[in-house]
């Protein structure tokens, strides 16, 4: 039986800056960098990515329309 309180506690830890081991087989350096940021900085990071992704989408759509 999983101790739900411990999972909640661990979840809360993940919302604070923490370090993913450098040899983590699942995540890139970008993702490891993100884990070291606080919530505010993670949100800022996401904001930058969203603008970038929207511009990429627009370029792709424009390209399709021109074809």
């Amino acid at each position: 039986m999983v101790d739900q309180n411990r999972i909640r506690k661990a979840s809360l830890h993940m919302l604070e800056p923490y370090t993913i081991p450098a040899d983590c087989p699942y995540l890139s350096e970008d993702q490891q960098e993100l884990s070291r940021l606080d919530l505010e900085k993670r949100a800022e990071w996401m904001a930058e990515w969203l603008v970038l992704a929207s511009r990429t989408d627009e370029c792709e759509e424009q390209g399709k329309n021109e074809e």
């Binding site: 739900q4 999972i7 983590c24 087989p25 993100l34 919530l39 904001a47 992704a53």
Partner: protein, 263 residues
């Protein structure tokens, strides 16, 4: 605090009176294990008040429905999902809602276990693991990462043994928690307990992942198959909305009329 479009939206939903939880990709970003997610996914409480609150915020944003069910308890309670899009400055926002995320057995427990911090309401990491067992291969890296951080690093053996996705870490977890490993029903764990060779363990992990991918793929195919008529009707409505600049409240009413075919 400088925030992004989806966080702003979350605050606005809550302020309008909706009970919502950040989920899936945005939750992974907030937990620091995904660099990016284009969409905003929320779990919404099955109540008229929450649906009305979310719709009012989205109407103010000039949002349009994308293909999906109306945001209403009748459809949410059957497992259907609702999808919207709108322009927020430089960002093309796509927002998705469900009330019964697939593979999550207890909705009440999910709400009880939700995490609230600095104005963020978010599913707990254990629930996120279940939600991320999708048909996309890349989601299994996210599951492995949560299992490493929450399970292995925080020393919760049930999470580590059940969800680590690679040989090396799983082998370490089995060595660290031999008693719990013996009790695990996971094939890869049992093979490690029996000291079988690496190839067998890796094969078991791959088959397990593929089974999960197939299960989710079949679930989505069934939904698509059972909503063919609705999809055609939706495409016609969408064209009319584009021509007539129909507000979201109008789209919602029309969508509810055609969505009776969704069982």
């Amino acid at each position: 605090m400088a925030i992004n479009s989806y966080q702003t939206l979350h605050y606005e939903f809550v302020k309008a009176g909706a009970n919502v939880l950040l989920s899936s990709g945005q939750a992974c970003v907030m937990y620091g294990i995904a660099a990016f997610s284009k969409d905003g996914d929320w779990i919404i409480e099955e109540s008229d008040a929450s649906c009305r609150a979310v719709l009012s915020v989205l109407e103010r944003k000039g949002a349009d429905y994308r293909l999906g069910a109306p945001l209403d308890v009748r459809w949410l309670s059957k497992g259907w999902t609702s999808h919207f899009e709108f322009r927020d400055g430089d960002v093309r926002a796509r927002v998705d809602f469900c009330s019964r995320p697939p593979r999550v057995p207890g909705i009440k427990d999910m709400w009880k276990n939700a995490i609230h911090k600095q104005g963020i309401d978010i599913v707990d990491a254990g629930t996120l693991i279940l939600i991320k067992q999708t048909r996309r291969v890349r989601d299994y890296s996210v599951i492995g990462a949560i299992a490493e951080v929450v399970g292995y690093n925080e020393k919760i053996p049930e999470i580590a043994l059940e969800y680590l996705q690679d040989y090396e870490l799983l082998n370490k977890a089995v060595s660290e928690w031999p008693k719990e490993a013996k009790q695990s029903s996971r094939e890869a764990v049992q093979l490690l307990v029996a000291r079988k060779n690496r190839k067998d363990v890796v094969s078991a992990l791959a088959v397990e992942q593929d089974n999960k991918i197939q299960q989710d793929d079949m679930r989505i195919r069934r939904m698509i198959e059972s909503s063919r008529e609705f999809q055609e009707q939706f495409a016609r409505l969408k064209t009319e909305w584009k021509m007539g600049a129909c507000p979201l409240s109008g789209q919602h009413e029309q969508l509810m009329e055609i969505a009776s075919s969704l069982s």
